[in-house]
Amino acid sequence: MHRFHRAPLVFLAVCLALCTAGAATAETPLRRATLEQLCEKSVGPRVEAVDRLLTATAAGEEDASWTFAILDAARSKGLHCGKDAVPLLKLEDGWRDAASLAPAEPPEQKMKPPFVNLKVRASLDMGAALSALLAAPGSAAAESGLGEIEKRPDRANSAVIAAATALSENAPFVDRLGSIQASLDLASEVPEDRIAAIDRIAENPSERNRTALLNLQAELGGKADPVTRDALDNAIAEIDGWIALGAVASTVYSGLSYASILFMASLGLAVIFGLMGVINLAQGEFIMIGAYATYAVQEALRAIAPGLLDWYLLIAIPIAFLITAGVGCAVEASVIRHLYRRPLMTLLATWAISLFLINSVQAIFGTQNLEFATPAFLGGGERLIADFIVTWNRLFAILFAALVFVAALLVLNRTQLGMYIRAVTENRDMAGCIGVSPRRVDLISFGIGSGLAGLAGLALSPIYNVNPTMGTNFIVDAFMIVVLGGVGNLYGTLIAALGVGMINVVIEPLYGAVAAKVIVLLLIIAVIQLRPEGLFAVKGRR
């Protein structure tokens, strides 16, 4: 998927610099009529103006860069109109005359962009995308325009597609342009063209193309010749197969991504509750602090090194971990340390801490959702099979969860510190006897547990709302996963998260999200009834 929002602006600046030079051909009747109509309030004339302009541009009667400049400005509130005034373009570097694109004086009277409603927007977006193929063939702007056209190929202007295919610079896109042309050829009256188009479309399976073929089938009815009918049947059958495969892949991917979120949210708790036995109700707030630390890193980078802004998520990894671990250690040393033998008091105390943290963050940052910039490498996704889209930010969450899991396992099983933690978990007094300081190990384990929650906050920030109360959404799920997986076992947590995530996404489309939640809870109760210690119980200090 391509995002068609930013790239053209850069391109527009370049284009304007080039084309104003040769724009002595200012006021043609076509330009005057187009601008007049684009300035109208009603929808019909504006859509008509775009269509006429595109056809003229494809025929070489209008400069493609002017077409693109005008259509792109009109859809992004750049085209300004006023009563009895010459339409102007307002660009980042100042005002320009719309007909000639030559620099102009700022208007004296009040001018404003005509309101773009959905219908006009669809027409302008399509027009800008099509004209980009002619104005800057082969460029990145043309490619992102192509992505836009592919969403509704049946509405493309076939003259422009043909003209764009003829340009040698568009050679890299010939295949994609061919697919778009095929969508248009479906309406062709020539049977050979139609059959070729059907075969071509079958190569690119998606629900939309299936609908196009079904519509054609319904339209032709019994009139179709046997060859066309067979071609249609085969094409639909082929697409159906791919769509089914895409649906399975999509379910697995959704399940994995939900599981990764559940797992990240519960990993810290698996250490704090699982290994140490502390019922920490402030765990959700550690997640929230991790997200706010990520936000702080983003803002700091924005101020100090804007060039690194795209990498803030990676830069924030150690910082979110350390800040949250620091808060966790402070909480452990000041409150929880004194309450290890009184679990009920820990429960109340951590609840108080949770309220305290929520309110402090509210006082400092306010209650509103924080805005996170989506780094270029996390925006959008890629269509893999039929309608199955791999969205990059979910993939990031999955990979990040996997990496953190491996890192946590390595620390617990391969380092001296991990050995101490396990020793204190299994037998606190004995570990103390052989020279491990249980107090220090407690402090460090609590720090690691809260640091992991901080990393969860980081991983969640591109996906979820970040506000002071975000943590309360995760605390119940986190306890559920840890208890289900069996306390004191990271593998158990992983498998419980995967199980709950997968079951959820399988049930959701069948019975709805509300029922899915109920069914998952019932399943968990059933499992706990059968295995009170969770799926994978380990002997601990309880």
Partner: protein
Amino acid sequence: MTLMKRRKFLKTSAAASVAALAAPALIARAQSGDTINLGCLFSSSGTMANIEGRMNAVVNMAAEELNAKGGVLGKTVEVMVTDPASDWPLYAQLGRQLLQQEKVAALFGCWTSVSRKSVLPVVEQNNGLLYYPLHFEGEENSKNVVYLNSPPSSSVLPALDYLMSEDGGEAKRFYMLGSDYVWPRTINKICKGYWTSKGFEESAWREEYVPFGFSNFQTLVNDIRQFASEPGGQPIIVLTVVGSSIPAFFKEIINQGIAATDIPILGLDVLEADLEGLDTAPMVGHLNCWAYLQNAEAPENDTFKEAWKSYVGGNSLPYSPETVIDPMVSAYDGVMLWAAAAEKAGTVEVDPMREAFPGLTFDGCPSGYDIAMTGENNYVSRGVFIGSVNDEQAFDILWQSDDQPTPVPFSPYA
């Protein structure tokens, strides 16, 4: 024995903590006979916190404005703030406390219909007055509630008409996605009745609900994409999820690359405040419908926005000084309408005030429309706006009504 002790301890400590939570919420007590108290029922915690919290502030701001002009009936107006913590039964409990113990003259509160339904018996038993600032599903006309915002006939149906018109893209298929409670379910029922009356088949729509606070919309957005690609004409989404689910849903929509020109979303509970924290450039063109939009062109609106900005700044409140939303304006209108009723009745007793309602008007509403109560019911007639998301985290005005349609509480389509 230990078990007993523990249980008892758990009970007492739980009770103590609830009391401890509730107590500081009600500190602003009536000091003398020279004050009139108003009560607020808006959550500052839980899933509704981000959006309901600022409502307390706006009621306070309106009260200050009244006081600066000499108060109401020569008395100072004081506002008591509570935190029902997005916990619906707690709204009723705190409402009862405000009416019975604090003797407030009127309540301003509730966002979700489920919280209003829980307060309803309380105001009816105690003969109190609740000013409710949200547009909602209608189908209710209690003499103890003043419905400050529009029922579906003057908000949702005009918006659907627009989307089904030629200019709006001729919507033919409808995906209804809502939080699972009374407002979305009733709205969707009304919508379905409306579409049936327009000749649509049942196959033209699909209906899905999610729990409160739901945020994992991946599967549902997949489902929406599939629905949208099926034959039958232009699809739209009628979105009635509330609270933190709104931005979560939009994030996933953006993520999967769905633009308003592909599938327009009519977000019935979507406000300027829900767009905070979102990059709205890929969302441009999605719609909402309210009785006020931040970009309404009216001198009253400029005054109101300026007042809010300086109020937030002056009291260093944790809310965005630039964001003004319809329910804030409605709550402000409500305080002004309450004051007008009190002045007209010469008392803050509920029964005489109710008799003062017919013909009550307020011409300072920031929407630019003069608003009025008809006397036929407890609704307020307001103007209608349809908004379209722009790239500055706000809504451009796509359409606005010429006048203020008469509110119809009970829909013929339900």
